[in-house]
């Protein structure tokens, strides 16, 4: 049994159902990637895993316990979601963004966390008094990740972290994610269209198509299988 176990997950928007029975497992400490084309249901999967969307059927078990309810419940259980398009607070300063990241910690002090992530993301430290919306795309993505880390999550959900970033900046970001996973052991579930980069980072991969998992396996196996690459990943 993994840190996250998803069983027969169905979800959608109103009458439109998008997910038709997703099963996936994320082991503690692992980096798992979900690959798939646009519209395959990747973002919907993540939204369901952070409580933004309620499943119509199926179960989510986190750390062995069933998880359901509002996003706040998911956050308190230790799931942090970095949404697509970054989702920072554009009118608040970098530091205020990070402080809000620690909102779910309640009254616990979090100055050490703040110092630690400033250390890890020095660009953010330089820009701590600037408003989130004035940062570059890459910096905003770092801010979104750092804000999620302020929650002291056990599982980090990342939705298309490479979206809209220049290739070198994307590589930089993925290197930071790898380092983060090595340093802190934070488990990550990443949804990506950039298959090569994601497969290099992850240890296990799922391929999703039309709301269903069509294949899965260790990242190297999935990456080396030409038929999978041609059929689903378009690379």
């Amino acid at each position: 049994m993994g840190l996250l176990d998803v069983n027969d997950l169905h979800a959608g928007y109103g009458p439109v159902s998008v997910l038709h029975g997703i099963d996936l497992t994320v082991e503690e400490g692992a980096i798992v990637v979900v690959l798939g084309a646009n519209g395959a249901g990747k973002t919907t999967t993540l939204r369901t895993l952070s409580g933004m969307l309620s499943p119509s059927r199926g179960t989510i078990r986190f750390d062995g316990r069933p998880l359901a309810g509002k996003p706040a419940t998911f956050v308190r259980s230790g799931i942090a979601h970095v949404p697509q398009g970054r989702g920072t607070f554009p009118q608040l300063t970098v530091e205020e963004n990070l402080r809000l990241g620690a909102y779910s910690l309640g009254r616990q002090p979090y100055d050490d966390d703040l110092a630690r992530w400033y250390d890890f993301f020095p660009r953010l430290a330089e820009r701590r008094d600037q408003r989130g919306g004035s940062l570059s795309g890459g910096e905003q993505q770092m801010l979104a990740v750092a804000r999620a880390l302020m929650m002291r999550p056990r599982l980090l959900l990342l939705d298309e972290p490479s979206l809209g970033l220049a290739p070198t900046i994307t590589q930089n970001l993925f290197e930071l994610l790898r380092q983060l996973n090595e340093d802190t052991g934070t488990t990550m579930l990443i949804v990506e269209q950039n298959a090569n980069l994601a497969l290099a980072l992850a240890s296990y991969a799922y391929v999703i198509e039309s709301g269903e998992i069509v294949t899965e396996g260790p990242a190297e196996t999935v990456g080396a299988d030409d038929s999978i690459r041609r059929a689903y990943l378009g690379v």
């Binding site: 933004m52 607070f89 990241g101 909102y103 408003r131």
Partner: protein, 295 residues
């Protein structure tokens, strides 16, 4: 130019301006927390003031009555938000404006039905003393009003800028989805925003009615001046609301005294001219911040 007349008008203007500022603060509070311009803000204030007045009629001391009315206003504000505003959250602006206008008429009519349209005298929380400095006269109510206003803005600024809940409110306003993702209950923050605004409005109503008399339409003119104040100061700035209120109050008084054709009848036109002028020259107001966006 007669100096005494001038100073009396300025001081009278500051006292009314403090009231406009107080109600403008309520408008700003709701605008910042929900993006809605609440046209019913004045009527909510009027209704709260009736509650205070009714309590004094039943023999309650005005100070205590005011505190009770402010507390009731806070609770009523949260209730209004969760019952009639929440369903139109995210609806377009016109829908939201119609809902607050509807609330305006409902409160106005219920007050008239319950308490009639006859003017009532509300006692002043700060007593009826008048201080004289030379020939310039200042009432205790004027001084008290200005002090209360300063306390309000200090409190609100502290709350929004320094406290955990204030940061959460600003986050909820800035990006509701991300706020949910860090564990903030956005709807609860909006309820608090409406509650605070209603309380600020109640304070404005209780401070203004000793001068204007209490009747269901009393806040209508005040609301127009408060709009002018909020727009002048910048709709998202508490400090701006206060400065805007004071400027509008003094301008209105001086214009009606020194510009012949304005007089008492066209005073409200001064407020409207200010609104139009500010929107033309500086749409974000004196203290408003434009939005930053980088794509």
């Amino acid at each position: 130019m007669d100096a005494t007349l001038f100073f009396n008008q300025v001081i009278g203007g500051l006292a009314s301006g403090a009231i406009y500022g107080s109600l403008a603060l309520a408008l700003v509070m709701i605008y910042r927390s929900t993006g809605i311009i609440n046209f019913a803000q004045g009527e909510m204030a009027m209704f709260s003031t009736y509650i205070a007045w009714q309590l004094t009629e039943w023999g309650v001391n005005i100070g205590l009555a005011a505190l009770i009315a402010i507390g009731v206003a806070f609770l009523a504000g949260t209730a209004i938000q969760s019952s009639i505003i929440r369903p139109v959250e995210g609806a377009d602006h016109l829908t939201q404006i119609m809902v607050t206008l509807g609330l305006f008429f409902i409160l106005n009519n219920v007050a008239g039905w319950q308490w009639t349209f006859q003017a009532q005298v509300v006692p002043s929380v700060f007593g009826d003393e008048i201080f004289a400095v030379g020939d310039v006269r200042i009432t205790a109510l004027s001084i008290g009003t200005v002090i209360v206003l300063i306390a309000e803005v200090a409190l609100l600024t502290l709350l929004l800028q320094k406290s955990r809940i204030g940061l959460a409110i600003r986050g909820a306003v800035d990006n509701a989805d991300s706020a949910e993702l860090v564990g903030i209950s956005v709807s609860r923050m909006l309820m608090v925003g409406w509650g605070l605004a209603a309380a600020f409005g109640a304070i404005a109503g209780i401070l203004v009615t000793p001068r204007l008399f209490l009747q269901p339409n009393v806040m209508f003119g005040v609301l127009i001046y408060s709009f002018a104040a909020a727009i002048l100061g910048g709709l998202d700035s508490p400090i701006g609301a206060i400065v805007g209120g004071l400027v509008v109050g003094v301008t209105e008084n001086l214009a009606s005294t020194y510009i012949d054709f304005v007089g008492g009848d066209l005073k409200i036109g001064v407020a409207l001219a200010l609104i139009v002028g500010v929107l033309l020259i500086k749409p974000n107001g004196l203290f408003g911040r434009g939005e930053v966006a980088r794509v």
